[in-house]
Amino acid sequence: MKFSVMVNEGPYTHQASDSAYNFTRAALAAGHEIFRVFFYHDGVNNGTRMTTPPQDDRHIVNRWSELAEEHDLDLVVCVAAAQRRGIVDADEAKRHNKDGDNIASGFRISGLGQLIEAGIEADRLLVFGD
């Protein structure tokens, strides 16, 4: 079966990103396909490489990056939500005259159409949020 996953909240403040990650891993372990993981609202904050969580705690951003690399996942951060919250890749930085970018490895910034497509193409769309 093909799943899409939506993550609506940022790392640590809500359990949403953890639940989404665990569901995604379990789906992959069961042999299912993950069409896309789409990050919206404060969920875009899962896509910054600038976090330094305590050493004895899970690294939420890095484990998404690692999972994406291991399974060739499509992690998409919504451009409109990212602009509001300051998640920036090199193109966005250039386009909006920012002095740096902060997007984490394995994430890409794209439009809300990617969410709709994720709903159309997958058999099930799971939403994790507040």
């Binding site: 569901f23 379990a26 099930r124 939403v127 994790f128």
Partner: protein
């Protein structure tokens, strides 16, 4: 349909609203803080006891364990599943509605 609820019934009306709209034969999975809705003997338990007459109710094991909720403290009839079970429920039900 698989309904998931992630909020404590003492914090928001998500569980109450979900139960008011879920049709007979649905499946409910309590996750995150929603697992507090599985506790026996609370002010919110009666609604879940009633719901069990018409639908299957599950609670996510890792979230119960994190919160120190033992299986003996769960409303009778609620089954505990892991993330593998969560995935299986999503596959088995033709659609999913995640109440936030």
């Amino acid at each position: 349909m698989l309904h998931t609820v992630n909020k404590s019934p003492f914090a928001t009306n998500s569980l109450q609203t979900c139960l008011g709209l879920a049709k007979s034969g649905s499946t409910l999975l309590l996750i995150e803080d929603g697992v507090y809705g599985a506790l026996v003997g609370t002010a919110a338990a009666e609604a879940v006891v009633q719901a069990l007459q018409e639908m299957h109710v599950y609670a996510l094991g890792p979230d119960l364990k994190s919160r120190g909720i033992e299986k003996e403290k769960l409303i009778e009839g609620i089954e505990v599943v892991g993330y593998d079970g969560f995935v299986a429920l999503a596959v088995a039900n033709d659609k999913v509605q995640n109440w936030l």
